[in-house]
């Protein structure tokens, strides 16, 4: 790595325990339905399940055949069907159809529904409505947390974002609270909990409730601090193009559940290869947090080193050769394979990204962040739409523009939307309606300067009734205030200095030195100040809902001061790899270790796709 740790960082807790717990519970649940059975698995549970229990484990517990839930009539011949599903109404409805079809055909089967991580009342309601509640048994598999890496834990709930922030459906809040409770009971007690955002606050309260209900055991804390943050506190960061290697790979190849599939263009063969991306991968772990411009140089250096290692063979006697083959060669081979894969990926990325277009795109993004040359940016975006470069990308730029400019001028708002509709169809009216509701793409209120807006928002927030604002009002309150925040927190470093990306000096390096991610900056500031004092102005601009609570059992902490430097950051609504990289950097600088818990890993495309409402 280009930079070295400030001091010894504390050891991370061992999260493989979470996997073991989940596996044991799943096995227990499967055993509840003795005998051979077919298992239907919700499509997006396939990968997470794979990380918990592989097929042979399932087979050991009398799972006969495995199917993916496809919402189609089933072909299974087993008389026992087990469904491993998310608590989604559509899926439950499909199961009802299956059961009713069996009934109509006079076929008798046993059905068991395992909801993960929990069952919702609505699911029971559907079962009841469809008249099969008496024919099925239901269970809950409390599989809340999937450790993706040493320091990343995911709830694997991508729908959290849309359900919670757009639809206002708070069912998942309790899930988040339960996840936190699980972590607390295994790695707590937490001595300090900070947070910002409405959802964070609710999740925190839900967790406290669960703590109070259950019995408390005094134990040695492994995690000292917790920071909860809502995704809607910072939309800017996930809307930016990622330029750190891991983020870039996610943007381009889409990392799914810690695993990426490199296509033929990367592997330079006709097969695609699935690669696990985590700290076990020696090559990847060294480049994941690097700015992309450094990666290629690093890889070629690595290749040279590898060659030297191979070259050692020359001039070895038999005995040395024997040890070399038995001890080193396998590692070298492995490294070789990974290296060639990552070099392939880099080449593929370069092909796609280092073209003129990408440079201009980045330049536009940076201008937006800095607030310079807005007109040029607008025409760039216009052209982007007109040339139909990418439906998602255009939408992302529109949002970034709106959010950094605190809304678009009415004229621009209309014309850009009109052009977008012409390009991608009028059904995006619904998408725009969603974006407006979230405050991601809004119209500036005529005649209001920024400061007027700010004070108005401030007043709204102070109003106790803020929670009961009507939609129209709340979208007003959701004004981003990005510019003011940027000034207050110094998010955009002065651009006149050269920024050496090889020796990053702050978290801005993850965006080529153009922008310090707001979310991470907040975390840094709050940890530094041990609370929100001095940040009143910032929280006001962010719409409040901040909190900082000291746990009642601080005594345990003195015993193990390491825990104090382990900070669990929970992103409600998703988190990007760039943010994780930034936190890793921050951790190195300040001697913290961050553990990121996210409802899902997100990026700009996933964020936008979650808000689409077109029916193509």
């Amino acid at each position: 790595m280009a930079h070295s740790a400030r001091r010894d960082s504390p050891e991370l807790p061992d999260f493989s325990l979470l996997k073991r717990l989940a596996r044991d519970q799943l096995i227990y649940l499967l055993e509840q339905l003795p005998g051979k059975k077919d298992l239907f698995i919700e499509a997006d549970l396939m990968s997470p399940l794979d990380r918990i229990a592989n097929v042979s484990t399932l087979k050991q517990h009398e799972v006969d055949k495995l199917y993916k839930v496809e919402h189609k009539p089933i072909v299974s011949t087993s008389d026992q069907l087990c469904f491993l599903i998310r608590p989604r109404i559509q899926t439950v409805k499909w199961i009802c159809d299956v059961a009713n079809a069996d009934k109509a055909a006079g076929k008798f089967r046993r059905y068991k529904l395992i909801f993960t991580p929990q069952k919702f009342y609505a699911c029971d309601a559907v079962l009841e409505e469809q008249g099969i509640i008496g024919d099925v048994t239901t269970d809950e598999w409390a599989f809340y947390l999937l450790p993706l890496d040493d320091d990343i834990i995911s709830l694997e709930l991508p729908e959290f974002f849309r359900d919670n922030f757009l639809a206002g459906d708070q069912r998942w809040v309790r899930t988040a609270g339960s996840a936190l409770h699980l972590l607390h009971s295994l790695y707590g007690p937490f001595s300090k909990v900070y947070g910002i955002g409405r959802c964070s606050k609710m999740a925190y309260e839900s967790w406290r409730e669960q703590v109070e209900e259950g019995e408390q055991k005094a134990r040695q804390a492994e995690i000292g601090n917790v920071f909860l943050i809502d995704r809607d506190v910072d939309y800017v960061t996930p809307l930016c193009s990622q330029v750190v290697y891991e983020g870039l790979v996610d943007d381009i190849f889409r990392i799914k559940c810690g695993c990426v599939e490199f296509g033929a263009d990367v592997t330079s063969s006709d097969k695609s290869v699935k690669v696990m991306l985590n700290s076990q991968d020696k090559v990847f772990s060294e480049i994941r947090n690097e700015h992309f411009s450094n990666v290629f140089g690093f890889l070629s250096q690595k290749a040279r080193n590898l060659q030297t290692a191979y070259d050692k063979r020359r001039g070895m006697d038999i005995k040395q050769m024997k040890t070399f083959v038995s001890e080193e060669l396998k590692g070298l081979k492995q490294e070789h394979r990974l290296l060639s894969l990552h070099i392939g990926a880099c080449e593929s990325i370069m092909k796609k990204k280092t073209k003129q277009d990408f440079q201009e795109l980045l330049k536009t993004e940076h201008s937006l962040l800095e607030g310079f040359e807005t007109r040029e940016c607008i025409s760039y975006i216009e052209e982007h739409i007109n040339r139909q470069v990418s439906m998602i990308e255009s939408l992302r730029l529109l949002c970034l523009l709106s959010i950094t400019e605190n809304g678009l001028l009415p004229k621009d708002y209309r014309s850009l939307k009109a052009q977008y509709l012409q390009s991608y169809g009028v059904d995006h009216l619904l998408t725009f309606s969603n974006l407006r509701q979230l405050g991601l793409l809004v119209e500036q209120q005529p005649g209001e300067t920024l400061t007027v807006m700010e004070s108005k928002v401030g007043k709204l927030v102070n109003d106790k009734a803020a929670g009961k604002l009507t939609d129209a009002f709340s979208s007003l309150a959701k004004k981003s205030n990005f510019r003011a925040l940027s000034r207050k927190l110094n998010l955009v470093p002065k651009s006149d200095e050269e920024y050496d990306l090889r020796v990053p000096r702050d978290m801005a390096y993850i965006f080529s030195g153009a922008y310090v991610p707001l979310s991470c900056k907040l975390i840094e500031q709050v940890l530094e100040r041990d609370g929100w004092s001095g940040l009143e102005e910032v929280t006001r601009l962010l719409n409040g809902h901040e909190f900082a609570v000291t746990g009642n059992n601080g005594a345990d902490l003195r015993a193990k001061s390491d825990a104090k430097r382990i900070v669990l950051v929970m992103f409600l609504g998703g988190c990007t790899f760039s943010e994780i990289s930034a936190l890793r950097f921050l951790g190195k600088e300040k001697g913290y270790k961050f553990i990121v818990v996210a409802t899902s890993i997100t990026n700009s495309s996933r964020l936008m796709e979650a808000l689409l409402d077109n029916h193509v």
């Binding site: 919702f120 007109n386 052009q419 059904d427 619904l430």
Partner: protein, 832 residues
């Protein structure tokens, strides 16, 4: 102390003693004569119905309820039909079996709770006799009717009537009968003249007690023991047969020499009895008969009632109450005259010690020599438990404590526990409380039940004191008492809601395990809805408030509590409940005030009930969402007409929502759809549903330039877009002439660099070069570079004296372009 054995009467191996429990507090004029009396075991209450057969309405019989010590609890005139039998349930409820077969249930305080009937046919045939019995299943009732049929209900809380088979030859009621519980079956044993029958669910079997002398005569009275294990039969010749109740073993047969049928026969045993014995009562005589041929006889003056207990018999008369029991072995050992048992010696030693006599040491030495000191202490402690008189208890405990001093390894637990329990027992035996429990009964009944009974009798402070004294965890102790207290408190009609709520809150506070919602439910049961709501406010867990609120039909409040709880599932529960309970309009109005619930319901409707969603928006006049709904719906609609009409509705709603932009966009979409349809029909172009851009692309690809042009004008497509589109399309189709013509049609709004780049993308350098000259000077270097013309690029850059452009050209130069590099370098140098 020597007097202790004064009231002991030997019978065979064992001794029997009669201890006075109470002088009865009641004042009954006529004694117990002519009254129906029921006294519950375990020191339970006594119910008394005077002259039950007096039928004239002018003087109704009086039903009185007393505590075991005779303190009046309730008294009221009996207004229902004639009562055949009174009895108490295990939970201290009074059962009154009426002649017509209906059973009325009253609580301890004489308030009517409910009633049930022993069957319709009984109304005709009338109940001749009834018995209330206790079994592992609860409290049961058995009756025999005028038609000589038996009916059983084994558990009155889960009423299942069983009509037993007919008994051959039985007319009227049998001479005597009892209910037996054996092998999880409830049976009736009855005698009819000389015959003895067992009556179970399916059959009636004649039986014969083993070893009953043939000359003994017919059975006229019988009794079964507390545990249903032993049976006593009394014959008309005065023979008392005792044996096991399954009638396979005989214990003894005693000739009482009394031919009069005793009024009551009750077993007098205790766990680990030395001998089973039976107490028989005649008008003036009480007799204890054991296995040996001997008997003990007590004269009695008043009519009495015998109550069989686990470890003895209580004898209730109008003046006092006594306990007749076998003296426990350990008490015998200690108090028997000239006993040398270690406990006796220890008691003696302590007595001497108190007198400061050195004999104490001698006694102690004697015990110690046999190394029986531990046993001695144990005996004293145990005996103290069995003694009723506090001073005897004290002297035994003191002796035990004294003995304990000389022991090293002796666990004090038993001693401490017995001390505590005795204090509790002495407290509840107080005449004002009136629970004459023995230690054995207390152990059997458990502390939990004792506190429950105290609570039931509304001795709340005592119950709390006991719980605290015995250090019962709050959860099982104080909290339980408080809960009952509160439930009782809310029924006090003379207090205002406000006062009760405050009183409850002050007392209960936040004791663990007391659920305000339970208390509130009680208040609601008593018809005090307002109070219930006030109480619910104290409930910390919103989840607990909601179900009751729903039950009370306070759905609005339930909804807001559910929302407050943050538990969305709970909200959903309420919402779906409301949906079924309310009419649509009200339901929507309710939701409207609860955004969380509303969004939740919307979410559900989006997946389940699209139509409802529309109504929901309609109700709210949410035109924007309504319009969005129509747009969404239009995509589900396959037919164009349907789609257009939905979109028209959307337009109308958008207009109402003052969203002109969306309205216009939707109108345009309709226009586009119509246009697409027309072309599809005419040319089979397959355009329907495409976006404007895609439509134009498709048109251009099909060579339908005119139509594309029309769209461009009609929909006011920006020039730039159209030019890009056309440029790409022509290049892709390699219509280079057409492209050139197009480029000249007017000044390009997208510049000419685009032309160059698009041509290059299609690998046509020749065409690309055509446009290089048209490119604006600022972009010319780029254009030259794009077509790979380094020379041209260099010229342009030098001409513009632009350093960065020159550098850009330089970076593209390879070593073979030496002259060019030199030129550029020179130019750059010159500029500096």
């Amino acid at each position: 102390m020597a007097f202790i054995t004064a009231n002991w009467n030997p019978l065979g191996e064992a001794f029997y003693r009669k201890t006075e429990l109470y002088e009865m507090c009641w004042n009954i004029r006529d004694g117990l004569r002519d009254s129906l009396v029921a006294a519950a075991p375990y020191g339970g209450p006594i119910a008394l119905l005077r002259e039950p057969h007096r039928r004239s309405p002018s003087s109704r019989p009086q039903l009185e309820i007393y505590s075991a010590s005779g303190v009046s609890i309730a008294s009221f005139p009996w207004k229902s039909g004639p009562v055949v039998q009174l009895g108490w349930t295990v939970s201290d409820e009074l059962l009154c079996v009426q002649e017509d077969g209906s059973v009325l249930i009253y609580d301890l305080f004489g308030s009517f709770k409910r009633h049930f009937s022993m069957g319709q046919e009984v109304v005709q045939s009338q109940v001749l006799e009834a018995k209330v019995f206790h079994s592992p299943y609860g409290t049961g009732v058995a009756i025999v009717t005028g038609s000589s049929r038996f009916t059983l209900a084994t558990n009155i809380d889960d009423l299942k009537l069983r009509r037993l088979p007919e008994v051959p030859g039985l007319q009227g009621k049998p001479s005597c009968w009892v209910v037996l519980t054996q092998d999880r079956q409830t049976k009736v044993l009855l005698s009819n003249g000389p015959e003895l029958y067992i009556l179970d669910n399916t059959s009636c079997t004649a039986v014969c007690p083993p070893g009953l002398s043939p000359q003994a005569g017919s059975i006229v009275q019988m009794s079964v023991s507390f545990s249903y294990k032993y049976l006593a039969l009394f014959t008309d010749t005065g023979h008392l047969w005792t044996g096991l109740s399954h009638l396979q073993e005989k214990l003894s047969e005693v000739d009482t020499k009394k031919t009069v049928t005793p009024k009551q026969v009750v077993w007098c045993r205790r766990p680990r009895s030395q001998q089973p014995s039976v107490v028989l009562m005649w008008d003036r005589l009480l007799m204890v008969a054991g296995v040996c041929n001997d008997t003990i006889q007590f004269p009695i003056e008043d009519p009495c009632v015998l109550v069989g207990e686990l470890d003895g018999v209580r004898i209730i008369s109008s003046a006092n109450q006594e306990l007749l029991q076998e003296v426990p072995l350990v008490c015998q050992d200690i108090f028997k005259i000239a006993s040398m048992a270690p406990g006796a010696l220890l008691l003696e030693a302590h007595r001497e010690y108190e007198k400061s006599s050195q004999k104490a040491d001698e006694y102690l030495r004697e015990i110690k020599e046999q190394s029986m000191l531990g046993e001695a202490v144990r005996q004293c402690v145990e005996a103290a438990g069995h003694e009723y008189d506090p001073s005897t208890q004290k002297s035994l405990m003191r002796a035990a404590s004294f003995g304990k001093c000389f022991l090293t390894d002796f666990s004090p637990d038993h001693f401490v526990l017995t001390c505590r329990e005795l204090r509790v027992l002495n407290a509840v035996r107080e005449s004002s409380v009136g629970l004459p429990l023995t230690h054995t009964q207390f152990k059997q009944m458990t502390l939990q039940v004792l506190t429950d009974r105290l609570v039931y009798r509304q001795f709340y402070p005592l119950a709390i004191e006991i719980c605290r004294y015995l250090k019962i965890p709050d959860y099982q102790g104080v909290s339980r008492v408080l809960k009952h207290w509160a439930s009782c408190k809310v029924q006090q009609k003379d207090l205002s809601d406000e006062a009760i709520a405050r009183a409850v809150c002050v007392k209960v506070g936040d004791s663990p395990g007391v659920s305000y919602s339970d208390i509130a439910a009680k208040a609601y049961e008593c018809g005090r809805t307002e109070l219930a709501i006030k109480l619910l406010d104290f409930e910390a867990r919103s989840g607990e408030q909601v179900p009751l609120l729903l039950k009370m039909k306070r759905s609005q409040l339930a909804l807001s509590k559910a929302v407050e709880s943050g538990d969305t599932d709970l909200v959903y529960t309420v919402v779906s409940y409301l949906k079924n309970e309310m009419n649509r309009g009200d339901f929507f109005m309710t939701l409207r005030n609860q955004p969380v619930a509303l969004s939740l319901y919307r979410q559900f409707c989006k997946l389940q009930e699209h139509e409802t969603l529309k109504d929901l928006y309609n109700q709210d006049d949410d035109h924007q969402e309504l319009a969005n709904y129509y747009v969404t719906a239009s995509y589900r609609e396959k037919r164009l007409e349907g789609r257009l009409s939905l979109l028209q509705s959307a337009v109308d709603e958008y207009n109402k929502a003052k969203n002109e932009f969306a309205a216009k966009a939707t109108e345009e979409e309709m226009r586009l759809l119509r246009f697409q349809r027309k072309l599809d029909d005419e040319k089979g172009a397959g355009l329907l549903g495409l976006s404007l851009q895609a439509t134009m692309e498709a048109l251009l690809a099909l060579g339908l330039h005119k139509q594309a042009e029309q769209l461009y004008r009609d929909f006011r497509v920006p020039d730039k877009r159209y030019w890009w589109l056309k440029l790409k399309s022509l290049a892709e189709k390699e219509e280079w002439d057409e492209l050139e013509k197009f480029s000249k049609s007017k000044k390009s709004p997208i510049g000419y660099l685009a032309f160059v780049e698009v041509c290059m993308k299609c690998n046509n350098k020749y065409e690309a070069k055509k446009y290089v000259s048209k490119v604006t000077p600022e972009q010319r270097v780029k254009a030259h570079l794009a077509v790979g013309d380094l020379e041209g690029a260099a010229d342009a850059a030098i001409e513009r004296r632009n350093e960065s452009e020159m550098a850009a050209v330089l970076s593209r130069c390879s070593a073979s372009d030496r002259p060019l590099i030199d030129r550029l370098n020179r130019a750059a140098a010159a500029k500096k």
